[in-house]
């Protein structure tokens, strides 16, 4: 197991180097430049259009390889199942909207398909990358490191640490809510009580239930994520203040 430690990004120290590596690896997700660069190289061997199309899955594949050693296979597959669900939902919805309202999306069919393909692979890569990024940093280590700084970055860094912890907390909240949901609706995607509704009536009831469930999930996730923020802020302030005092007294 230890021979793979070299490839585990979350073990890279110091934390700012880890941060820089994450940004470099995640760059293709925010900029077109890396995909175009790869497609230029590939176009020497393939048709340029095919080269551009193949560059997107290649980038996603590279990002998966980057995340895999840290996450381990089981966690990686968990993240990927959520990523596929999100990518398919996004692309199918976009495609439907594009066909329903063609006057809004003024582009030809080929350009639209390439855009959707890029979107699909981007979502597949963004999901594991961002979750690995969020969980690879420990907020308390950041605070402890920042107290030794005397620059304006210190305040910004404390805010970054807090934001990071809040994002980490989202994962906890979702798993907690999922357990509660499972108790209430064991089938997860179908309501527990269907009454004696006929098929058509049941479908209407189910669509309504699904819509309300999405709203409930959004509110519950927001509220339960926000809930501990005051306590977190308090704790981070105490940590920062005490460490600062100790640091000054040592000097």
């Amino acid at each position: 197991m230890n021979r793979f430690n070299f490839f585990k990004i979350h073990l890279v120290k110091p934390f700012w180097l880890r941060f820089i590596i994450f940004i470099i690896v995640g760059l293709p997700l925010f900029s077109n430049f890396p995909a175009l660069f790869i497609s230029q190289i590939l176009s020497k061997f393939f048709n340029p259009e095919f080269a551009l199309i193949i560059s997107y899955p290649l980038i996603s594949f590279f990002i998966w390889l980057f995340c895999l050693p840290s996450l381990g296979l089981n966690k990686f597959l968990d993240y990927m199942s959520a990523a596929f669900l999100m990518a398919l939902t996004t692309v199918i919805t976009s495609s439907l909207l594009q066909n329903l309202f063609p006057f809004i999306f003024m582009e030809n069919a080929y350009a639209a398909s390439v855009r959707l393909l890029r979107l699909y692979f981007n979502v597949l890569a963004v999901f594991p990358w961002s979750l690995t990024f969020i969980n690879s940093f420990s907020p308390d280590s950041i605070i402890n490191a920042l107290t030794q700084l005397r620059t304006p970055f210190r305040e910004a860094g404390l805010h970054f640490a807090l934001a990071l912890r809040v994002f980490q907390h989202v994962g906890t909240v979702v798993s907690k809510l999922l357990l509660i949901w499972k108790e209430r609706y064991p089938s997860l995607l179908v309501m527990r009580h269907t009454g004696e509704n006929k098929k058509i009536k049941f479908i209407f009831a189910w669509v309504r239930w699904l819509a309300y469930s999405v709203i409930d999930w959004v509110y519950a996730s927001i509220i339960l994520t926000f809930e501990p923020i005051p306590a977190m802020v308090n704790e981070f302030e105490i940590l920062s203040e005490r460490n600062k005092k100790n640091d000054f007294s040592e000097k």
Partner: protein, 418 residues
């Protein structure tokens, strides 16, 4: 130098307790029981409030609320950092040991700890902060503990007193430890029998490799028997022994890896429903009315039934001022608990489990609620189980399942009928 004071404040509702806690600490601890509008308003108030001096150790109304970091090792490391330059692993283990916690939990995610373990971790953290915290404010600091662990509180109290620091304790009326004014009411409930089959169920929790390694663990319940259990019954045992996991297995939210666990009731049903100890989160930030309407949106008959049960249970609390105002969109933890119970009763399961039903309620309210729920459940042929270590529930129970730890991964179950 501060002069040490020890104050105990008691309240009759959870909402008043949280108000007091917010006033003492200057921290906004949201009253989720009052619904999402109240939550966002309160959050805005916190954002726009002036910062108060926050140099105190605290135990929040819910033990997880003041544990901001992901695992016990990080919580204790951060609490110790201001006094010890680089706290070692051994030092962290020592603090866990001191409060009866197994060092193996140091890397376990906070959210997977039991209520009692979280409270003990709060104790360890408060001890680590004792040198630099000016005061100690503790809300319900005993509620989640088994009576064999009360001495940890005494040790902590002694420590703060010896350092001349004030302690404020905020509890609900009838708290087992601080305000032991248990009512002498006789709760007469005719027992109801059901069959419980336990065939050495085992639950495995896989290893966690990211972001921090935590070894795989398993809990094996070493018991192979069929029991005719008399309801209401009590599921009890020490902190962290696996009571909540056992209730999770019964209600099918925790998957059993081997063995079996099943119930069979006289009403023919075989399912089990559970009201979690964190009843507030279980409502998904919904009001009682919306909760019942949402769950039964496609089943009008059951919806009417649940509404009827809700009204019937609410009417039992005639003297409860705040609860009677629930029609005016003022919701309380008690009304949320009643809504969750009414929803489950309308489902007519074989067994209804209430995990720590007394949390967030005064002793009087908790006892009245459980008594009335037991009567209603038995009327419907539903058995009732109470998961708790609070001695107050013994007078309700017709039988008891005691979970005892045999080794780190093995638990024995003893049945006793009264």
């Amino acid at each position: 130098m501060n002069s040490a004071t020890y104050n105990i404040y008691t309240f009759d509702t959870f909402e008043k307790l949280v108000d007091r806690f917010v006033a003492s600490t200057g921290l906004y601890f949201p009253k989720l029981s009052e619904g999402k509008d109240s939550f966002f308003k309160g959050f805005y108030n916190w954002l726009s409030a002036e910062k108060k001096n926050s140099n105190f150790a605290l135990i929040a109304p819910e033990p997880s609320q003041a544990l901001s970091l992901p695992n016990p090792a990080q919580v204790l490391y951060s609490a110790l950092k201001p006094v010890i330059n680089s706290p070692s692993e051994d030092c962290i283990f020592e603090y866990l040991y001191k409060y009866g916690l197994d060092p193996s939990i140091s890397t376990q995610p906070i959210t997977t700890l039991s209520g009692g373990e979280m409270l003990l971790l709060n104790y360890a953290k408060a001890e680590a902060q004792a040198d630099y915290a000016e005061r100690f404010i503790a809300s319900n600091p005993i509620f989640w503990l088994n009576s064999s662990r009360y001495h940890y509180w005494l040790n902590l109290k002694e420590l703060y007193s010896s350092k001349q620091k004030s302690i404020d304790v905020i509890v609900l009326n009838g708290d087992t430890y601080f305000d032991n004014t248990d009512s002498e009411n006789d709760f007469n409930i005719k027992p109801l029998e059901f069959k419980l089959s336990i065939q050495e169920p085992k639950v495995c929790f896989p290893e966690i490799r990211f972001p921090i390694y935590h070894a795989a663990r398993a809990i094996s319940y070493k018991c192979h028997k069929e029991i005719i259990v008399k309801s209401p019954f009590l599921i009890t045992g020490d902190n962290g022994v696996g009571k909540s996991i056992f209730s999770g297995m019964l209600s099918s939210i925790v998957d059993i890896n081997s063995g079996n666990l099943s119930v069979e009731a006289i009403n023919g049903a075989a399912s089990c429903r559970l009201v979690f100890q964190e009843a507030v989160s279980q409502c998904f930030a919904l009001t009682p009315v919306k909760l019942i309407s949402g769950v039964f949106c496609a089943d009008y008959e059951k919806k009417l039934l649940a509404q009827n049960f809700f009204q019937r249970l609410i009417s039992e609390f005639n003297n409860h001022e705040e609860l009677q105002m629930s029609d005016n969109n003022i919701y309380t933890l008690l009304s949320l608990k009643i809504a969750l119970i009414a929803e489950r009763l309308a489902d007519k399961p074989a067994l209804l489990l209430l995990d720590e039903p007394g949390w967030g309620l005064s002793c009087k309210d908790a006892q009245l609620l459980v008594y009335k729920v037991a009567l209603l459940a038995h009327e419907l042929g539903i058995a009732l189980g109470i998961v708790s270590h609070q001695p107050t529930w013994h007078k309700f129970a017709a039988s008891k399942l005691t979970l005892k730890r045999l080794s780190q991964n093995e638990v024995d179950i003893e049945y006793e009928s009264f």
